[in-house]
Subunit: 340 residues, 2 copies
DNA sequence: CTGAAAGCGCTTACAG
DNA sequence: CTGAAAGCGCTTACAG
């Protein structure tokens, strides 16, 4: 009887390959991924049989035996945010090139969910972990440390935390530079709109802002933008009652940039004549709107590559003390910021 | 000796739990996920021990034994495209709710890469597969069918393919409706800009366009937009030499929408006075630009949920012949399309 | 309802 | 360089 289409064929195992090639399973295993050398003749024979049989190794068995799977778990808050989806895409690209697969979970920025989702990842004995942490990741950090799984923290990390490798942006320096740029253009009162002021990256940015503003007496305020357009519009309207009224707004995400531009319409504020705008995130539409948006441009692929390099090193046990690197970002002033 | 922080503790196994609870491993397994009932007293004891020991099951062992892992593999072309990242986010949400993990791979729209990436997924014995296929997925389809892994095809599928469950948009109907809307507004020559004319969804859309245009003698042209802004600008400029000159452009993606708007600036074309624009994809900036963009709005979460429902059903072996569903989408006309 | 035992498909010391 | 064998941590018939 022939095995026609639709007939499920029995999956080949390493035993089938060994039998057909006339070698032991250990030898097959060694040609596939052993540290031990196999004589060229046998090696070739095994390879031929593998191709002929269409043998595909069972990574579950491999992972069980090695107590570690060639999979990297990645936890980010969301993927609908362009910055995170760009990160994910960069990670997938480099993972595929290394023969490693990715299990992705989302924390939604919630510490509880983050904890649970990473527990799930650990059940699969992932060989490494890449995390863009939520606001309060300490319980999660403890659990990960206890598990001993190689981990690198991306993007958000407190300055005094040395438990894991980490690759971040120098939020303080970039924001100090951005603020200086606004001050140079005559702005003396600046409003910073963030998702959560408690987020470590925002604290670093606020500190950077103050480092530029305080010495010259420039006025700084921070506002949490809220979860939707109407909340932001209302809060912004309220904020603009205060004296001194801001002449420039910095937003932490491109979503906020969009919401602020819409709020400006409702509130009949002309940008940049009345108020200037700078976005810390770079949206696809940065140069489609009028006025063209001023942005901070971050090298996403670079951060992904660095994080991956760190992780691979640690998965090979080559690393010693936790490494850290801070990448720089570029501040691009366009029409949305004006000289006063 | 105490096990202080930093001291890696031996991972608990089901044997440890069984020993401590004074039952057999089979019983522990049954309280965790067995079809067999366990007496309430023992059940509670096992649960207590699990909590006390911090036992977390090894899903690699489970998957190996069951010959199928509670993981769903997802293959999409890219994640940097907002539509796909929204899909991914919806999938992750529903997966987490079902206690299932996701392995994500990217095909970059290339049939070869797609094939290889799905081969990798299969090595992990994923329990199900969700695919937004590339242009020519027939070899991949064959391989998947041979593997017997439950699969649902999302978004792109030929009309005559009945091998897998599928959930798609009714591209033909939506485009016919959109085209009718343009015709109603007086447009008699329409240009459709696509990534690849060979893509099944684009063929369906072109057919829908013709269904509305041909009977009333409206002129249709199709242009491949190319891989970058400058290519698109050049091709568009060339296309506009032809008679009759289009008075309306439809683009298949929001990236093209952005590129076309930039090309309009370079070519000194006023939208919508000279040419109207309609995007088949809904960008975040749809109402930020001037003129506000006309779009087709697709219910992403709905498609994700339907696909997941189909997949779960098939993973439970409840489905018979392949199911198919076509979702509708909404055409929203805004300032970027004018009455002639 | 419960337990003893086989076995999923690999890797890796261990001898030779 | 090569093979025989133990064992990774589970699930699931099979008896009782």
């Amino acid at each position: 009887m022939e095995a026609g289409p639709g007939v499920k064929q029995k999956r080949m195992t390493i035993l089938d390959v060994a039998a057909m090639a006339g070698v032991s399973v250990g030898t097959v295993s060694n040609v596939l991924n052993g540290t031990i050398t196999v004589s060229e003749a046998r090696r070739q024979r095994v390879l031929d049989v593998i191709k002929e049989l269409g043998y595909s190794p069972n990574m579950l068995a491999l992972g069980l035996r090695r107590k570690r799977s060639p999979v990297v778990g990645i936890c980010v808050p969301q993927t609908s945010i362009p910055y995170f989806s760009a990160l994910m895409e960069a990670f997938e690209e480099v993972a595929a090139a290394h023969g490693i697969e990715i299990m992705q979970v989302l924390s939604q920025g919630d510490a509880q969910i983050e904890y649970q989702r990473i527990v799930s990842l650990l059940k699969y004995r992932v060989g490494g972990l890449l995390i863009v942490p939520s606001k309060d990741p300490s319980a999660t950090y403890e659990m990960i440390a206890a598990s001993g799984v190689p981990t690198v923290v991306v993007e958000r990390a407190p300055d005094d935390d040395f438990a894991f490798d980490r690759v971040t942006f120098d939020n303080h320096a970039v924001m100090q530079r951005a603020t200086q740029g606004l001050i140079d253009r005559g702005h003396r009162s600046i409003l910073f709109i963030v998702s959560e002021a408690g987020l470590i990256v925002n604290q670093q940015r606020i500190a950077g802002m103050r480092a530029a503003a305080d010495p010259v007496g420039v006025h700084i305020r921070v506002l949490e933008g809220g979860r939707d357009q109407s909340t932001l519009t209302a809060r912004l309207a309220g904020e603009l009652q205060n004296e001194p009224r801001p002449t420039a707004i910095v937003v932490s995400t491109s979503t906020f940039a969009a919401w602020v531009l819409r709020a400006f319409r409702v509130l009949r504020i002309d940008c940049p004549r009345d108020i200037s705008l700078l976005s810390f995130e770079q949206p696809e539409w940065e140069d489609l709107v009028t006025p063209k948006l001023s942005v901070v441009s971050r090298p996403t692929r670079e951060i992904a590559r660095m994080a991956w390099t760190f992780l691979m090193r640690r998965m090979r046990n080559e690393a010693e003390i936790p490494q850290r690197i801070q990448l720089d970002a570029e501040v691009i002033f366009r029409e949305s910021v004006r000289h006063i």
